[in-house]
Symmetry: C2
């Protein structure tokens, strides 16, 4: 038995297709009794409007796109996406929208990817993540006329609105926590400086040190991977005057760094304090447990989706206020060692 169509429902209820459509879309111009009868008939027949047909007639795809442009190696270790997607999806599905996911291996293929989503009319809007400093995508999307929301700290809202938890305060809180414990040589293992969130975390670290009147400590730039985090840690510990604390741009690197310190017999937090960022599930379960910064990624996803829906519907933005990231002090950070 093929799925019933609107025509079947109309016939069964003894009305026209239009009437059925009116009933389902809550439009006026139907008597209460007819409306009820139509809805009852539809229920009996198990009919639900086909979103393919709806998409064509309302000239909307009823779906939003998310393009993830990362090598799967980096992707699989990142706890951000699963949570973010969960948030996005819950908001979208509440509004009858679906989430289309696309994964492209390199940053290069990304432009092509967006262009295709747009040309084929698969989506009504997209999320732009992992923004690079001087990223081409916002301009491309503007040219394509494809509504977009930038996920992450606001960089340049010339083209599109940005929705994101500002990571500055979280990193600042971590640095301040260390300063309060007497540390003065606080290093940073940063993410890619070409990426907006890599850069903003680094800036927050530097600014907080400066505000405290301290010289900028050593900083090693990485690609956010565990491997790079370990290498950066070795580099910092090999310095003539090694830092007493290291602020990592994410938990993954912090945990790898922790292992490097431990393997060298350096006590954490006795001789070295460490902080991460993201509050990965593992953060609380390594030894010592990792001080980290937690933010509401699911809420963030939900907020980004809400904003994109508004944008697509040309509605004015509602004020979305995301909770500040919170510093979770655990075992990996403590007083500066006596020198």
């Amino acid at each position: 038995m093929p799925r019933p169509t609107i025509t079947d429902v109309a016939r069964a209820a003894g009305v026209s297709k239009g009437a059925v459509s009116f009933a389902f879309n809550g439009r006026e111009g139907l008597s209460a009794s007819t409306r009820a009868r139509i809805l009852a008939t539809a229920r009996d027949l198990g009919w639900t409007p086909s979103s393919r047909a709806r998409a064509l007639s309302v000239s909307r795809a009823l779906a939003m796109g998310l393009v993830i442009a990362r090598p799967p190696e980096t992707l699989r270790a990142d706890p951000f996406f699963p949570s973010f997607i969960a948030g996005v999806e819950s908001e979208l599905s509440d509004h009858g929208y679906a989430l289309l996911l696309q994964v492209v291996p390199q940053h290069e293929g990304e432009q092509q990817s967006y262009r295709r989503l747009s040309d084929e009319g698969r989506v009504d809007g997209v999320f732009v993540t992992d923004l690079y400093v001087d990223d081409q995508r916002p301009a491309l999307l503007a040219e394509l006329g494809l509504p977009a929301v930038i996920v992450g700290p606001a960089l340049d809202e010339a083209y599109w609105p940005a929705v994101g938890v500002d990571d500055g305060p979280g990193i600042a809180a971590a640095v301040e926590h260390l300063l309060a414990h007497g540390h003065t040589r606080v290093a940073h293992v940063s993410g890619l400086p070409e990426m907006v969130h890599g850069r903003s975390r680094r800036i927050a670290w530097a600014a907080t040190l400066e505000a405290a009147g301290l010289p900028e400590g050593p900083c090693v730039e990485t690609d956010f991977s565990a491997e790079a985090g370990a290498a950066a840690t070795r580099e910092l510990l090999d310095l003539a005057d090694p830092p007493t604390a290291i602020v990592y741009a994410n938990d993954l690197m912090a945990i790898a760094g922790l292992a490097v310190a431990t393997s060298r017999g350096i006590d954490v937090p006795g001789r070295l304090s460490i902080t991460g960022y993201e509050d990965t599930e593992l953060a609380a379960h390594v030894q010592p447990s990792l001080t980290s910064v937690s933010s509401d990624v699911i809420g963030w996803g939900r907020a980004a989706a809400k904003r994109l829906l508004e944008l697509v519907d040309q509605r004015p933005p509602t004020d979305i206020r995301l909770p500040q990231p919170r510093l979770l002090v655990r075992g990996s950070s403590g007083p500066v060692p006596p020198s």
Copy 2:
């Protein structure tokens, strides 16, 4: 300027809509010159067939669905999905299909989720992951007539084909590796026994011990989370006669277990050997580095997608052979301690 439609192309090329469609779908019945002219015109106008319109007329959604039914807490720590999705997506997009993602918080909402995807005609097929023993979904999908591929070890292929790396050999390799090092009390921290992959890993562990003529060691059932892994480890170490080796059902629990052992001053691998499963990025970067089992999850995703495409197109299955999981011996496992 709105996007051009097939009608615009037809007019510009001086042919009918049908001719344009023929040209694009490589159907015969057009002279080579006309075909070339049409394609050239389409290129000039920047026209790409609208997949909404195509979807309606070919009565296909041109998309596949993936429903993830997990609390985001569990989800975000799992490196499986990102890689798997990357594989799925690459295969699907090569065939003009899109991937629709849906995340539902609890296992309960899942049925509803599939039903809705089916009723609204959003997808042509779905992937079923995290299969439970005695799962209702295969039957539901059969009833809905929605093609499905089960992701994971084959349990019961009565309804749908299963595509998956069998985890048995990987766990067996880990256990054998430990036995070869003289361990005789090998415990297991298993995942949910109601889940197919939790159960199959447990069975493989037990079977390998039995094959070696050893008694089944202690086993603690968990929910795959780091928290549970830590608790299970404490429980095992508190036994009157604690195991000398623990085989964990995933890396997350293994790493948490490692931290528990370390915090108790138990040397790994000196006094306790540990193995994980999944080969998370962090596995190589904890201290000591974690012996784990790696499988080609991306290839797995690609294979699952290939099979689903075949199923939807009613093509016979091509023989898909996934590489066996490989045991990666690292620092966390070694000889049994002298007693």
